[in-house]
Structures are given as C-alpha cells and as structure tokens.
C-alpha cells in the first residue's frame, strides 16, 4: 500500500505582520516566506516571539496588523478551525481520554468522515511514524518518544498545507532528541511537506532546516540557509546566538573582489569581504578557529587562564592582546595547564560582521 501525504503543501508568507497583546508587542511587523515543501525554523532566545509567530500561522492568534498568506490564499482573518494547518504541541496535547487511534483519527471524525474510513486513514498515519499496532492503547501507556510520534501522526494525516512544530523535542532526552529530529526531517523530505518549526536550540535548527529565521525582540534578526547564518552572521547577536563566537575588533587592510585581508592584532587572515570597505571592522571568530601553539612561531602571544575537559574536546579561556578568547581544541590527549604561554593563530572560520 502506498502512502501519500503532503500533496497539498503550500508556501507561507508573512507581510508586515504585527501581534500585540495590549501593551506588549510580541511580534513586530515581520515579513518572511517559507517555500512550499521546505522546512523553516524559527530560532531565538526565550520570549522573542517564536511561539506567537507560529500561532499566527496556525490561526490560534489573529494578527493585529499585516497579511498572512498560505499558498495564494489570504488567511489573515481566518481562525484555526478554518485554516488548513496542523500543529504539534510542545506538550503533545494528546487527548488523554481517547486511544491512540482515536487521537489520530480525530481530525477526520470532526469533519464528518465515517468512523471506519477515518480509522483506516489514521492507521496509515501510525504506520508512517512506525507505530503500527499501537492504536488501541491509551496515550498514558506510551513512552515519551512514542507519544511525540503519535502527535506528529495526528497532525500529519490531515495532509495539511502547513505543518507546525512548537519545540517538539524539548520533552525528550538528548539521545532521543537527535533520533526524532532526524525522523521528522526524513518524513518532511520524503513527503515534501511545508514545515515551520520552533526551537531555541541552535544545533537542532542547523541540523534540520532548509531555512533558519533568527528572531530577536519580536523582530527578525536574520534569515537564511544554516551555512549562511553560521558563516556570514549579519550582526554580533546572530553570530553569538548561532554557535559561539569571539567578537574581536580588527582592520581591513585591503579588499580584492570578494576577499579581504584583515589584520587581527597584527595577525593577518584572508576572509570573504562581504562588500565592506577598508578600515576598522568587527570580526566573529569561531572558537574552533583560534589555534593554540606551544612551539612558538608567528602569531599573538597569549596565556591560558582556564581549562575544561569535555571528553571529545578541550575548552580554554585564553588571555590575548585582542581580549579574552574562548577556544575549542580537539587535542584532548595533550591538555594545556593554566598559566601556559601560547602562540595564537587563526583558522578560516572568521566572519566580518556587517551590522
């Protein structure tokens, strides 16, 4: 039996959407597009408006201003019931008084599908998430990960135009998290679903997304492909939020097309110029791009202040002429003791910060 879900995936478009709760502006005039069949994550610190944005897509909140389009339809004024959008909640929100199959069939039953047909379709959904045969159980008789997959199946079987996830993995332990997020990504890609996904875990966002939308204080700080955000952060907020970064002042010495020669405290490196002119600049240096050497040679002189052993790598805090640097070093077999003098050089994971 072939399973075909997701034939109706549609794009989501926000045009200057604002949502205010009385005085509080939770989302402030944001615009973005999520292409049909792609997965976009909303990423940002707590309280920045991610959940509100997601609920605006679902119709659980109605926008104070602006336009929301799903596919070509303007859905700005439509409440949740009338939108073709399903959502997977952080708490899963499985109905505790219904069995697994009843939960998954719920959307069909309330729209008037005969029960037998509804259950047959629900059965397919369960199969898709690998829970065939779990139908008669109650949600309380499942493990956390299984409950999560029931919630996904319940949202999926309706073949919504858009599928929403609000921090779906935050109730799972670290191991399970990795597995389930891969499963979600697999299903999304194989069915070609449009998914909007909220998380505040940047690693999760980078791992699963076609597009990441970073939010800050009710606004969009930057959006783009995971690699773009990591390698070309728009400002220090994004640089710092996506992976760790050392923000260091530097000087652009010369620009040659797309590349620039930059002097960081006298050490010269070559990085993408991002259209910046010669002169002072801020750089975001990834911790794995600060290279420590005890053998001397070219570079900045520094001193190790703190060390921490994290199993697969070492973390150091190093004092240097350009300020304190946070360093990740994979050479765990030869750790440096605090007080050790080192020579600092820089790798290529350095971005010039535009904003």
């Amino acid at each position: 039996m072939t399973v075909s879900f997701g034939g109706r995936a549609s794009s989501v478009r926000f045009e200057g959407v604002t949502k205010a709760f009385g005085e509080v502006v939770a989302v402030n005039a944001i615009s973005f597009v999520v292409e049909a069949g792609s997965l976009a994550t909303l990423l940002g610190p707590s309280g920045c408006g991610k959940t509100t944005t997601l609920r605006l897509v679902a119709g659980l909140e109605l926008a104070t201003a602006g336009r929301i389009l799903i596919g070509d339809d303007d859905v700005t004024g439509l409440p949740a019931t009338r939108r073709d959008v399903s959502m997977v909640f952080q708490s899963y929100a499985l109905f505790p008084h219904m069995t697994v199959i009843e939960n998954v069939a719920y959307g069909f039953v309330v729209s008037g599908t005969p029960k037998a047909e509804a259950h047959a379709k629900a059965e397919l959904g369960l199969e898709l998430v690998g829970l065939k045969g779990y139908g008669p159980r109650l949600p309380s008789e499942l493990s956390g990960g299984q409950q999560q997959r029931v919630a996904v199946a319940r949202a999926l079987v309706l073949e919504p135009q858009v599928l929403l996830f609000d921090e779906p993995l935050s109730n799972l332990d670290a191991k399970l998290r990795r597995r389930v997020r891969e499963e979600i990504r697999d299903i999304q890609q194989s069915l070609g679903l449009t998914v909007v996904y909220v998380t505040h875990d940047q690693e999760e966002a980078l791992a699963v997304s076609d597009k990441v939308i970073v939010m800050r204080n009710a606004e969009i700080a930057q959006e783009g492909k995971p690699r773009e955000l990591y390698e070309q952060p728009a400002d220090r907020f994004v640089a710092d939020f996506i992976g760790d970064a050392n923000m260091v002042s530097a000087d652009i010495l010369s620009v040659d097309g797309t590349h620039a020669r930059v002097s960081i405290g006298g050490v010269e490196v070559q990085v993408p110029s991002r259209g910046l002119p010669v002169g002072p600049v801020q750089t975001a240096i990834r911790p794995e791009s600060v290279l420590l050497d005890t053998q001397g040679g070219e570079g900045l002189a520094g001193t190790v202040l703190k060390t921490a052993y994290l199993g697969k790598h070492m973390e150091y805090t190093v004092d240097s002429p350009v300020g304190e640097l946070f360093v990740v070093d994979e050479r765990v077999h030869a750790p440096l003791a605090p007080g050790t003098g080192v020579t600092i050089r820089f790798g290529d994971r350095i971005a010039l910060v535009v904003g």
């Binding site: 949740a80 708490s91 959307g107 729209s111 949202a155």
Partner: protein
C-alpha cells in the same frame, strides 16, 4: 476542512423565530409552561392560545405586526457570503432591533393598555391589552437574538466564532434579564410612592427612618434600627466563622488529631441542612422547654430564660450553620501553604509561633478574606434563623419579608430595605476585592512539594483544641437531636417514642381508588425534588459554559462579563426573592406563582458555584488540548463536546449534585416565590415551625437531610475521593501529556 459559512445557521434561527410567530401561542398559557391542555382547548383560534399571526388576522394586537417584518427580513441575507458588509448589517440590524422591539412593546403595553401615562396622553386609550409572553414570544425573541449574535460573529467578533459569540450573548442576556433587571426593578420601586409616582423624596423618606438606622439600643433599652442589627450580626458571624473555621482547618492539617476524618465529615452537614433547622434544634435544646434548659433547672436550679431569642441565639445558630463553610474555604488555603516555605522560615531561625504568625497566616490572607465574606453574606441573607429565633431582634431579611408578605404589603419599603441589604453585601464584596487585588489564588504546584508542615506551637494547640472539640460535640448533639426529635411525641413535655410525625408528613393510605399520598408533606416534597432536579442541570450547564468562556476565550469586555456573573454571588437570596416578586409579577414576563420562577431563581442563585467549579477544573486542563483540537479542524462546539466535557466529568457531576442539594435547602429567596401550587419543602417546614409544629418540622428536615446525605455519598462513590491533598494534587492535573 471546516469552511462552512453561517448561512444554514441564519436559516435555522429564522425558522425558529417564525415557528414562534406562526405556530405557538404568543402569550403565556394559564395552565403553566408544561401544561399542554391548550392544544385541545380552542387552539389556534381562541385568543388565549392563538399564535401571533392568528391574533393579527383577527385584527387584535396590531403592534405585533412589525415583528413579522423582523422575522422575514433575514431572508435578504440568505445565500450571501457572511464576509459581505450587507449580510452583516442585515443580521445586526434585524436581530438587534427585533429583540429591542419585542421587549419594548412588552413593556409599553400591559394588562391595562398603555403602561405609561404619557403614552395614554399622546395616543389616547389603546382599547386593548396583553398578558405575559409565552412560547411564541420566547421563540421569536430567541431566534432574533441569535440572528444578532450571528451578525456579530460575521463582523469578526471573537475570531468570527458563531458558537462562542452566541454563548456570550446568551449569558449576557439571561444575566441581564434575571439578575440586573430585577435588581433595577427594586431601585425603581424604591423611588416610587405608593401611588406609583416617582419621587426622590419618597425614597429618602423610607430610607432615613429610625426603624432602619436608629441607634436607640446604644443608650436605651429600645431596639436599634434593623440595618445596624443586620450589620452587627453579619460582622460577628463573619468574624466568628472565620476564626472557628481556621481553628478546625489547623486541627485537621497541622495536628495528629485522630478524629480528623470526622471533622471533615462535619463539613458536608451545612450543605445538606436548611440553615434554619439549626435554629430549630437549638430551640429543642436551649429553648424554654428545651432539654438542656430543663436539665439545668432540675439539677442546679438555674431558671429558664429567653436568652436564646435575640441576637445571641441567632448568632449561635448562624455560627453553627456557617462555620463549616468557612472551614471548607480555609482548609484548601491552609493546605495550599507550602510546607517548604515554612521549613525555609524555620531554617532562618524562626520558631513555630513566629513562623505561623509571619509566614503562614499572611499567606492565608486571601482565604481568610474569602471566608469572612462568605460568612458575612450568608448571615445577611439568612432568613430562617432570625425568623425562628429572632424574637424582638429584627434584621433586614425578616423586615423585607414582613413588608412584602405581611399585612402592610408595602413594596416600596421592601425595596428600600432590600437596597440597604444589597448595599452592605456589595460593599463587603468590593472591599474584599480591593484588599486582595487580583492575586487571590494560592497556587498548589503540581510538583511533588516535599516537606512536613510545622506543627502548631503547644499553647496555641491547646487553645485550638479547647475550642474545636466542644464545638464539634455540640454540632453532633444538635444533629442527634434533629434525627431523634422526629420520633418523640411532644418535645420537652412528652418523650414517648412515636411515628406520628412521620405519618402526618409522609403517610400513605390505601383508599378506594388505590394509594393515596395522605401525608401533608408529599406535595411540597415532590415539588422540591422536581424543581431541584430541573434546575440542577441548567445551573451546571450555564455555570460551566460561563467558566469555559472565562477561562478559554478572549473577548472585548471580558472583565465586565466576569464581574457581572460573579456579582450574583454577592446578592443575598432575600434580595433576589423580592426583586423577582417585583419584576416578574406583571407582563411581559409574568412568572410569579409558576414553577419556572423557582427554577430560574435557583439557576441564578447557584450559578456562581457552577462557574467556580468549572473554572477550577478547567484551569487544570492544559489549553493546548483545546488548541490541538481546533488546529485539527474541530469547531469550538465540537471541541467542547469531544475534548473539554469528557475531561471535566467529575466537575460536572459535582456541580450537578451541589446545585441539586442547594436547591433543596434554600429558603431565603424561595420564601417569596412559593405558591400554593408550587410549595417547597423548606417553606413548608418554616410554616410548620411558625405554628409550633416542631415534631413534623423536625421529621421532615431529617428526611431531607438523609436524602441529601445519600445523594452526596453516591456522588463520592461515583467520582471517587477528590481531596486536594498535597500528594494527590499531581494526579488531579490532566495535562496534555499523560503522567
């Protein structure tokens, strides 16, 4: 998905309205709401039973014509999309104006033609008249009203959710009609002279008399004004019940006292006992021929006195009756004070007494205020005990009763007294809200909050036991008296055992034509059961619906909505009773003397209880469950039916039984509304008490108490014990994620 427009709902409500206009008797039929004799008695041409259309065709009641127009016009909106401005306006205008017109004509044309003199002067005598509205008018009005709410929804109110807008409208409408309108009628009536003219002087004249505000008792032996009597009594009862309730709560939660369960058991008693039964039992014990009085006289030569009849007796009776209510409120609050907070205080070197004084008691502040308010209002509204024990000590509730029912029949005076009563309770309600601000809820977290409550400091514990144990014993003796008293021939004089009173009340004889319910109590007994059984589901439904709107929906004016629905909690039953007599005695809403008015009074008296129960249990349901259902395409009505209601089953059951029991025991509003045909048990018993027929009264009361006790036990069995204990708190929480 669910993209249906509102077209079929418009058609549906239009048909309902037309059915009312074309098919059913427009005016109230004589033999009551449930009497269907009219169907075979001249319908549809007899003017008493005719539908509006027949009346009009017969040439009568020409002012009903426009209603036909209002009912037909919505057809203009049929088949048009609800997003169109035109559709919205048609619905809003036709519905709104239609309802306003129906009400307006009802109030302007009454039993004697024009209701207001100036209309008569302008248009000349009408030469026609009309009675109270009946099924027809009800349906037509309902249809038009919901067309109006559909219009609001189409305009985008509450996200365009027709069901929610309709529900809000419904509740606003019925609360306005059955709480605000009657109370407003009191105000109007207070402003009227006995001749029906409006005058502020009349009000002031009635308001500012020594009988209400006199302070003679301060400096002489004469009685004070009733307002001061009521106020003093209510404050004393509020304070007393709060302190005593707190003492009981502390014993149950903070000591190892072995009979805790018994104490908890005592809390059911006031719910299942009509309050004045306590007064009655006190007479049997401490009255002039009471058992204890006689014993004291015989053993110690202490002469019998009349101390029981007056302030002290009423106070004692109300204390006994309402302390358990305070206890119920406070036990939750005392349990809500987290032991870990107290442990924290102790690790900061506070001793047990200091901890209690500086941490625990302040945290209980909302509970204390709540308990005081409840005691205060219950005392103000209590009618039975002052009636039975008051003697020369008059309070507002009894004065109101005599003004309405007594020989004086002075509506204006009753209204003024009711306003004073209302003023006091609203003042207390307002003061409590001000004092607490909005943070009135103690939160018992779902987290397994470990820790052991601090035991009570020694001397304090002794004091508390010294008060609570004798009190509990006394309560037990009272109830024993009630149960036993019904089997005694003539209490105080002849203590031979007899079934006489039970036979008088509940006798069944076999006559020529089979069984005869010959006992005097049967009539009121069956009425009570029936009225209570009808009002319970209505109360639960309207209470839970209101709770749903308050907890789960956001809409304009929600604060006012909440205040309005909670306000009826602060309106004493006595006031409701008077106001219903004033408001529903004449057309357009002619309800006095029917069973409906009793049902309605119970529904709105007990509604706040349903609302509170609903709010409590709904707040424990994670709102993402509703939202999940909505995003899966269910409408809000489907969500309520399939998700919310099934998960709230225990709360529903509790609300049902509670409103049933409250209806069985109520007296203060009921006493104004009973009629020969619809007599209620409590009113009947009180009547017997006035005739000094204590035996029958006590017997009847025992039967009621036992029945309700059984009802509550059944509930407990059905729902299982739902104690809000620290340990079980987590279990109560039904989150989206099963534990």
């Amino acid at each position: 998905m669910n993209g249906l427009g509102i077209g079929r709902y418009v058609l549906g409500w239009q048909l309902v309205g037309l059915a009312g206009f074309l098919l059913l008797p427009w005016y109230a039929v004589e033999d009551g709401f449930w009497g269907f004799g009219w169907l075979f008695d001249g319908y549809p041409f007899d003017p008493d039973y005719a539908p509006a259309i027949v009346l009009l065709l017969q040439g009568a009641k020409p002012w009903l014509w426009p209603i036909a127009g209002f009912l037909l016009l919505p057809a203009l909106a049929l088949g048009r999309p609800s997003t169109e401005r035109f559709t919205q306006n048609v619905l809003l205008l036709v519905g709104g104006l239609g309802v306003a017109y129906i009400l307006g004509q009802g109030f302007t044309v009454g039993l004697r033609g024009w209701n207001a003199g100036f209309l008569e002067a302008w248009y000349g005598p009408l030469g026609d008249r009309q009675f109270g509205m009946g099924y027809g008018a009800l349906l037509a009005g309902t249809g038009l009203f919901f067309l109006f709410t559909l219009g609001c929804a189409a305009r985008g109110a509450v996200n365009g959710d027709g069901f929610v807008v309709g529900s809000i409208g419904l509740i606003v409408m019925v609360v306005a009609l059955f709480i605000f309108f009657p109370v407003a009628r009191i105000l109007i009536s207070a402003l009227q002279t006995n001749e029906g003219l409006f005058s502020l002087a009349a009000l002031l004249d009635k308001l500012l008399t020594g009988k209400i505000w006199g302070l003679d008792c301060v400096y002489s032996h004469r009685a004070c004004g009733v307002a001061w009597n009521s106020l003093a009594l209510a404050v004393a009862v509020g304070a007393g019940t709060t302190l005593l309730g707190l003492a009981f709560a502390l014993v149950v939660t903070r000591t190892g006292f072995p009979a805790k369960r018994l104490f908890r058991g005592l809390t059911v008693l006031p719910i299942i006992t009509p309050p004045f039964v306590i007064g009655l039992a006190l007479i049997l014990l401490f009255g002039q021929s009471g058992a204890i009085t006689q014993f004291l006289e015989a053993a110690f030569g202490i002469p019998a006195s009349r101390w029981l009849y007056g302030f002290s007796g009423v106070w004692l009776a109300q204390m006994l009756a309402f302390t358990p209510i305070a206890f119920l409120v406070l036990i939750g609050v005392v349990e809500g004070v987290s032991p870990s907070v107290e442990e924290a205080a102790q690790t900061l070197r506070a001793d047990a007494w200091t901890t209690l004084r500086t941490v625990s008691l302040p945290l209980m502040r909302p509970g204390l205020a709540n308990a005081f308010l409840l005691g205060f209002i219950e005392s103000m509204a209590d009618f039975g005990n002052p009636m039975v024990l008051g003697g020369n000590f008059n309070v507002l509730s009894t004065e109101i009763f005599f003004a309405i029912v007594g020989a004086q029949y002075d509506q204006g005076r009753a209204s003024v007294l009711a306003l004073v009563l209302l003023f006091f309770t609203l003042l207390a309600f307002y003061a409590q809200r001000r004092w607490l601000g909005r943070k009135s809820y103690t939160s018992v977290t779902g987290k397994g909050d470990a820790g052991i409550a601090v035991p009570l400091p020694g001397r304090f514990a002794t004091l508390i036991f010294g008060v609570t144990i004798p009190w509990a014993v006394m309560t037990a003796v009272l109830y024993a008296t009630i149960l036993f008293g019904g089997f005694v021939n003539l209490w105080g004089l002849d203590h031979t055992l007899t079934l006489r009173h039970y036979i008088d009340a509940f006798g069944i004889t076999v006559g020529d034509h089979g069984w005869v319910w010959s006992g005097g109590a049967w009539n009121s007994f069956f009425t009570t059961i029936a009225i209570s059984a009808i009002s319970a589901p209505l109360t639960a439904a309207i209470g839970l619906l209101t709770a749903y709107l308050l907890v789960r929906q956001r809409f304009l004016g929600k604060q006012a909505f909440e205040f309005g629905t909670m306000l009826s909690f602060a309106i004493p039953g006595t006031v409701i009773g008077v106001s219903y007599v004033l408001a529903f005695n004449v057309p357009p809403l002619e309800l006095t003397g029917t069973g409906i008015i009793l049902v309605i009074s119970f529904v709105f008296r007990n509604m706040p209880v349903g609302v509170r129960a609903g709010i409590a249990s709904m707040s424990q349901l994670d709102s993402s469950l509703d939202e999940a259902s909505l995003t899966l395409g269910a409408s809000s009505w489907q969500t309520i039916r399939r998700v919310v209601l099934p998960l709230m089953r225990p709360a529903i059951l509790a609300a049902l039984v509670y409103s049933f029991v409250r209806a069985m025991t109520a007296i203060s509003a009921v006493i104004f509304l009973v009629s020969a045909e619809y007599d209620m048990a409590t009113a009947y018993i009180l009547g017997r008490v006035e005739n000094n027929d204590y035996g029958l009264s006590i017997a009847y009361s025992s039967v009621l108490i036992v029945i309700m006790f059984v009802a509550i036990l059944l509930l407990q069995l059905l729902v299982g014990e739902r104690r809000l204990g620290r340990r079980s708190a987590a279990k109560l929480e039904i989150g989206g994620q099963p534990a």
